[in-house]
């Protein structure tokens, strides 16, 4: 998974904090997470067609999913990550 953030905004900070918590709770030992600041690496954001930040992108397992926001809605994140059926 990749989490695209924009600097040190409170929302980005929260997003990092939330996803870190969900992963540790549900996918401990079975996930890979990279946090990418679009100010520092804008090229990566372009490749992933990021339009809003923060955005979490799940590549594996398919299908690819995008979740935008501070990831504070736990249900929606779990569904977005295909951990819980919709």
């Amino acid at each position: 998974m990749r989490l695209y953030v924009a600097g040190l905004t409170p929302r980005s900070m929260r997003a990092i904090s939330n996803i870190k918590e969900i992963c540790e709770a549900r996918l401990k030992g079975r996930y890979s997470l990279r946090v990418i600041d679009i100010y520092q690496q804008p090229a990566l954001a372009k490749g992933e067609q990021i339009v809003a930040v923060p955005t979490l992108i799940k590549h594996l397992p398919p299908p690819l999913r995008r979740i935008i926001g501070d990831l504070s809605d736990r249900e929606r994140v779990l569904i977005g990550l295909d951990i819980r059926p919709a």
Partner: protein
Amino acid sequence: MVVMGTVESLTAEVGELRARLAAAEELQRAIRQGDVDAVVIARSGGDVVYTLHGADRMYRQLIETMSEGALTLSASGLVLYGNLAVSRMLGRPLDRIVGTALRDYLPAGDQHALEHILISSAAAPTRLEMTLVGGDGRELPVLASFARLPAEGSALAFCVVLTDLTQQRFSARLVQDERLARSILEEAAEAIVVTDEHGFVIRANRVALGLSSALPLPRPFAEMFPLRTSTPAAFDLAAVLRGETVRLVDAVIDRDGTDVNLIVNGGPLRGDGAILGAVVTLTDITKRWQALQELRLSEERFRAVFEHAADVMFLLEVPPVGTPVIRDANSAASTLLGYDRTELIGRPVSMIESRSAELDEVEVRRRAAIAEAGGRFELTHRCKDGSTRQFEVSVSELTLGPQAYALAIERDITDRRLAEESMARLATAVEQSAESIVVVDLKGDIQYVNPTFESLTGYSRTEAIGQNPRLLKSGVHDAAFYETMWATLLRGESWSGHLVNKKKDGTLFEEEATISPVRDGAGRTINYVAVKRDVSRELQLEREIRQSQKIEAIGQLAGGVAHDFNNILAAMLIQVELTSRLDGLPASALSGLRDIGASAERAANLTRQLLLFSRRQVMQPRALDLNVVVTSIANMLQRIIGEETQLQINLHPHPLNTWADAGMIDQVLMNLVVNARDAMPGGGKIVISTGEAIVATEEMAARRDVEQGRYVTLRVCDSGVGISPSQAQHIFEPFYTTKTEGKGTGLGLATAFGIAKQHKGTIFFERNEVRGTAFELLLPANEPTAEAAGVPEAPKPPAGGTETILLVEDEAAVRTLMVIVLESAGYRVLEASDGIDALRQFEEQAGSIDLLFTDIVMPAGVGGRELARQLQERKPSLRVILTSGYSADSAGAELVLGARQRFLPKPSSMDEILATVRRSLDE
């Protein structure tokens, strides 16, 4: 198949669209719900991130609060925005900064660099260190980071962040300083520890940890370093923490069972005035301490050598010029010289020199030269009490720092010198001893002889050494004699005795010898020393003394009888003469009377000879000419020697004046001639010659035993058998004769010698066995006088007279005959038996008495000479004849006769008596 493919493709397309729709719905939802910070819009020139309001505020907040300065520049360098830090850095409010050019705050060099960045097209951020000049003129070093903004058409061209380098540079220096300090601390050879204010070690360097057991810090200092000290004082860390500096030089710490000697220094560690702790250094001085310890031991050892040496030692400081100065002196120096050490140290050596003046340069250099050559010299020190001692000195140069020093080692040789002097005196005494000294070894080989031995024996030292003393053996002593001598010596005793030894030239000599064993310290005999005195001369003297004692005895004997004997002879002679004159005597009686007379004459002559040689004959010297004496006796001499012997007389052409008793000289001449005649039994020739001689030198005078001066000589030579050496030794001894018994008295030459000596002359002989013997008489020459020039009184025929004669004679027989003689010649005679009687008669008939005829020797009262004096005092015209056969008071002396006084020896013939009386009266 186509349909199938189409369906599949349509299904995929639907799935994709659904996914895109979900994504769009998600985006829509997120934006609607404000759940987005930023949106990314793809554009042809690149993606642009648009931040939403909330996000920008955050950044603004962040920018405003950061300590770096942040500003934005337009492309031309105008400041469009600056945060608060920029306002602080430039020292002015932001509203005065925004709108101004950044270059306005830079020095010229930095302005140029700024322009370069502004016109550069490089997209990458550019850094530049530059200096900002603030509103108050303060300069601030900053690192400026320029980032070009890509937005075209915007006034904003650059974002700039300014980092204040002041703190950073200070920190760099701090880091550097700290590293240095740490490095120093770590690399220091000493152990260095830092404690906190409670005495806990909080830092310790490598060396310090090496001294301690490996326990973690912090630990109490005393626990970490349990120090021991040799003194009661311990390391007082508490004092250090109170602010004192503490030093301990004799600390010891145990490291793995080995003592480590330490010097510990502690000092407070201060920060902002307060004491934060202590810094303690511990320096390992074990090696140095051991070296010091060894040095001290070594120094103590040398000090002990210096102190306890029997020799005097001085450490002298030697200036380039001038007198060396005493820097140290050992106890021998103070003991021997009597000075306290403190009195010596620091004083010039001239103080203890015997010479009072300053030690001169020449002497100092002389000594230095000897010392340099490793030699020794001698000097005399003056002690404190004024006495002097001699020392033998060796000097070594020492290099102790820049100053030159010398060590003088001086051996007291005073006693040795005294011993040497004493030895030298002893050797000189032995060398110069008048006694001959011989040292032999145990084998009896000569090891030493002194010069007296050499001169006595004729053997030189080199000839004698190594020889056995039997070299001198004369053969006089038998084997038993030497055996006794050696037996005594081998018993270890001294032998003394009389030795007759033989010189190198063969002559014998006599010695009194004492031979003693010489012992060494252990009492063993190592040598024998013989001290011998040549007693030849002594024995000679002894013989001479004996001889003179013999002559003295004879003299006393002769003297004792002469007076009476002569009176007897006088009576006999006068009686014979008187009787002979009687008429009608038969020829045989007359002949008998003549024989009696001749015998009496011989007896008188013998008495006279005895008196003469014993020098007791009264001497009547007068000035006379020796030639005349010889001439007057010549005829008589011819008669004595007889026809068989020829007499030749060679007289000196000039008168030979002397002061002598003519009768005695006649006697000498007669004796010599008779002696010569007897030496020529078969006849020969006798030559009498007179002459002069001068004894010019002392040596000649000593040889002849006479005074120096002029002499007249009388020489009698014969052509006889001569005299053998053995005879020569005894020839002048009385009663020595070579003639057959009865032919000679043995008094002739002895008498001649006695007479010569009585005249202060001498007689000697030259022997020649081929040509006979020559005797020569020497008499002192006398200045000629009128009297001497005259001929001796010619014998006149005895004549009588009518004058009155006072005859004084104690011997009645003689007196009676004398009266007959004198009265028969016509004289009137008054008789007196002694002086008293004579004085009485003179009182009565003084006027008539013309002549006093008196014996000199009379038993009682007044003697003849005193009588004559008294009577002549009363009657100066009175004539006096003194007569004597022997006179004890005038024996051997010159008879001094006064005016109108004459002497007539007794006995005399009648003719002589009468002639003398007549001459006296006619005077």
